[in-house]
C-alpha cells in the first residue's frame, strides 16, 4: 500500500500528473454523484422546450426532443466507464497471462500463438467488433467480451516483450534449475517484474476502450437509448448542431477532458516508474 502512495505522491509532484489526476477525480465524482445531482429526468421529453439555448432552467440547453443536456451530459459517461472497466480487466487478464506464458515457454508454441495474434490484429478492431456485434447483437454484455478480446491482443505483445526481458535473467534460470513449476515461475518471478509496466499499459488501455465504446455508441452499436451516452448524444445532436451547437459541444468537452486527463496522468506515471516508451495509440 505504501508503494502505491509513494508513486501517487510522485505523480502529483509533476504539474501534468497533478492536472491529470484532478481531471480524473472530477470525472469520478460526477459519475458517482450524477444520479443524485441531476436537475431533470434525462429521458424526459419536453415538447414545449425543444432546442432551447442555455438558460437558468436548462444550464446546458435542451436537445431536439426537449431533453435536458446538462442532466444527460452528467450521466453520459457512466455506462461507458463500467463497460470499459470490465473489458479492460478481461483484456489485461487474458492478454497478460498469454503474453507471459508464451514468453516463458518459447519455441514453436510461442511462434504459433504470435502468428495467430498477428493475423487477428490485421483486421482493424472496429471491423472485428462489428463482426461480433452483427452476430451477437448490440448491448453492454456483448461489448465487454468483444472489446476485451480485441484490445487484449495488443496486451499479448506487450506482456510478451516485457516478460522476454526477464526470462533469460539469472533468477529465472535459477528458478528453472530448482525445478519450479512454470506457473510458479510466471507468478513469482515474472509477474512482479512486469507488473508496473502492465499496470501503466492497462490505464492507457482503459482510455482506448472507453473511446471505442464511445465511437460505437456514436455509430449506434454501443450504449443504447434510453441510457444517455456522450457518443450517442454527439451523434444525436449532429443534425441540429447548426441551430443548437450546445447539444454536441458539452458531451465533446466531457469526453475529451476525460481522455486528456487520463493521458496526462498516465504519462506522468510512466515517467515516475521509469518506463520511457508507452504505447500511444491502439495497435500492435
Amino acid at each position: 500500500m505504501t508503494a502505491v502512495l509513494v508513486t501517487l505522491r510522485a505523480i502529483l509532484r509533476r504539474p501534468s500528473g497533478a492536472a491529470g489526476l484532478a481531471i480524473i477525480l472530477v470525472h469520478l465524482l460526477v459519475a458517482l454523484l450524477s444520479p443524485v445531482i441531476i436537475p431533470h429526468d434525462p429521458a424526459l421529453q419536453d415538447s414545449s422546450a425543444i432546442l432551447q439555448a442555455p438558460s437558468a432552467a436548462h444550464v446546458f440547453g435542451t436537445d431536439r426532443l426537449g431533453r435536458d443536456v446538462l442532466s444527460r451530459t452528467l450521466l453520459g459517461g457512466r455506462e461507458a466507464m463500467v463497460i470499459s472497466t470490465a473489458a479492460t480487466i478481461f483484456a489485461m487478464l487474458w492478454g497478460g497471462l498469454l503474453g507471459i506464458f508464451v514468453a516463458l515457454v518459447g519455441g514453436s508454441t510461442d511462434a504459433i500463438v504470435m502468428r495467430v495474434v498477428d493475423a487477428v490484429v490485421s483486421v482493424p478492431w472496429i471491423l472485428l467488433v462489428m463482426l461480433f456485434v452483427t452476430a451477437l447483437g448490440v448491448g453492454a454484455l456483448a461489448l465487454i467480451p468483444v472489446l476485451g478480446f480485441s484490445y487484449g491482443l495488443s496486451v499479448v505483445y506487450l506482456a510478451r516483450s516485457a516478460a522476454l526481458d526477464f526470462v533469460t535473467r539469472d533468477f529465472v534460470l535459477a528458478a528453472q534449475a530448482r525445478g519450479e513449476r512454470r506457473w510458479t515461475i510466471a507468478s513469482r518471478e515474472l509477474l512482479p517484474n512486469v507488473r508496473d509496466s502492465l499496470a501503466v499499459q492497462g490505464a492507457m488501455q482503459w482510455s482506448w476502450i472507453f473511446l471505442a465504446v464511445s465511437s460505437l455508441s456514436f455509430l449506434g452499436m454501443g450504449v443504447a437509448p434510453p441510457i444517455p451516452d456522450w457518443g450517442q448524444m454527439i451523434s444525436d445532436g449532429r443534425g441540429v448542431m447548426r441551430a443548437a451547437p450546445w447539444t454536441v459541444i458539452w458531451p465533446m468537452v466531457f469526453l475529451s477532458s476525460l481522455i486528456i486527463g487520463i493521458n496526462l496522468a498516465v504519462d506522468a506515471w510512466a515517467k515516475v516508474i521509469g518506463i520511457d516508451r508507452i504505447q500511444r495509440a491502439p495497435g500492435p
Binding site: A119, W125, L128, M130, L131, T134, L219, L255
Partner: protein, 316 residues
C-alpha cells in the same frame, strides 16, 4: 535479396489465410449464424430453415469453408443477405471511393508529418517543438468522430466554406470525390500526421546525436547541408515502417470518418451492413480491410528493404 522478398511475401500470404480462417471459424463458433442474425426474432421454424437452405448453411462447416475459400480465390465474395446481390458488385465502387479518400489523406499527411517532424526534431525542446508535440498528442488522443465534428463546426457551420456532409452518390467521378473528401480527409490526416510526425521527430533526434553528424559538424560542414544530406534521409528510414502500420491503422478510422461525413465508401457500407445484420457483407469487408493491412505492411517492408541495404542481411 529475392529469397528475402519471397519469404516476406510468403509470410503475408500465410497471415491472409489465417485471417480468412479466423473470420470464418470465429463466426462459426458463435451462437447463431447469418440467417438468425438477419431474420432476428422472425428466425424460427420454416422461415429459418428456408433461409439456411438458400444460403447453404445446413451443410457441414468444413465443406462450406473450402467452398467459401475457393470462391474467394476466384474473386467471388459471396452474396449479400439484405441486398440479394453479389457482394463484389456492391463493394467495387465503394472500395474505389475509400481508396480515393485514403489517398488524399496519405498524400497530404505524409509530407506534412515529415515536415513538422523534422522541424520539431531540429528544434528539440524549443517552443515550436513543444507546440507541435502537444498538438500532435491532442490530435492522437481525441477520437475521430469528435475531431470530425469539430472540423464541421468550424469549417462548415461557422465559416461556411464547405458542406458538412458528402451528398454525392457512390458512382461519382473521381474529381468530384476528391473535392468532396476535403473535410473527411483532413480528419484522417490529423491523426495520421500526428503518429508519423512523432516517429520522424524521435528519429531526427537520434540521428542528430549520431557520430556521423558529430563528425560532419566537426569537419565544419554547413548546418543546412548536415540537415539535408545526413539528417533528413537517415531519419526517414525508420519512419517508413511506421507509415505502413499507421496507414493500416487508419483503416479503422476510415469506418468512423465515412459514417460521420456520409462518405460513400467501404466503411460506411460496413456500418450499414451491421444495421441490416448482413453477416456475409460484414465478413467480406473485414476480409478486404485485412487484405489492405497485409499488403500495405508488405509494401512498406519492401520499400524499407530497398532503401536500406543493412536490412537485407537480416534473417527474419
Amino acid at each position: 535479396m529475392l529469397a528475402l522478398i519471397l519469404r516476406r511475401a510468403g509470410s503475408s500470404l500465410l497471415t491472409l489465410v489465417l485471417v480468412s480462417m479466423l473470420v470464418f471459424v470465429g463466426l462459426e463458433a458463435m451462437p447463431g449464424d447469418a440467417c438468425t442474425a438477419h431474420l432476428g426474432r422472425d428466425g424460427k421454424g420454416a422461415v429459418l430453415e428456408a433461409c439456411r437452405e438458400r444460403m447453404g448453411l445446413n451443410r457441414p462447416a468444413a465443406e462450406r469453408f473450402i467452398e467459401w475459400g475457393g470462391r474467394l480465390l476466384q474473386g467471388d465474395l459471396g452474396t449479400s443477405m439484405q441486398r440479394d446481390k453479389p457482394i463484389a458488385e456492391i463493394v467495387g465502387w465503394r472500395l474505389r471511393n475509400t481508396i480515393v479518400l485514403s489517398a488524399v489523406a496519405v498524400l497530404v499527411g505524409i509530407p506534412l508529418a515529415i515536415f513538422l517532424g523534422v522541424i520539431a526534431g531540429l528544434r528539440r525542446d524549443g517552443s515550436l517543438d513543444h507546440l507541435i508535440s502537444s498538438l500532435s498528442i491532442i490530435a492522437m488522443t481525441i477520437p475521430e468522430f469528435i475531431s470530425a465534428t469539430i472540423l464541421i463546426l468550424i469549417f462548415a457551420v461557422s465559416l461556411g466554406w464547405t458542406s458538412g456532409v458528402v451528398t454525392i452518390g457512390y458512382k461519382a467521378p473521381v474529381m468530384e470525390l476528391v473535392s468532396a473528401s476535403i473535410l473527411p480527409a483532413a480528419t484522417l490526416t490529423l491523426i495520421l500526421a500526428a503518429h508519423i510526425m512523432r516517429m520522424v521527430r524521435s528519429s531526427v533526434i537520434d540521428v542528430l546525436d549520431s557520430d556521423y553528424v558529430l563528425m560532419a559538424r566537426l569537419k565544419g560542414v554547413p548546418r543546412r547541408q548536415i540537415v539535408w544530406r545526413h539528417v533528413v534521409p537517415n531519419s526517414l528510414l525508420p519512419a517508413i515502417s511506421v507509415i505502413g502500420l499507421t496507414i493500416a491503422w487508419l483503416l479503422g478510422g476510415v469506418v468512423i470518418v465515412e459514417s460521420v461525413f456520409n462518405y460513400p465508401g467501404l466503411g460506411r457500407l460496413a456500418v450499414d451492413a451491421v444495421g441490416d445484420r448482413d453477416l456475409p457483407l460484414v465478413q467480406a469487408i473485414a476480409l478486404l480491410f485485412g487484405l489492405t493491412y497485409v499488403v500495405t505492411n508488405l509494401l512498406s517492408d519492401l520499400v524499407a528493404l530497398f532503401l536500406n541495404p543493412r536490412l537485407r542481411t537480416f534473417r527474419a
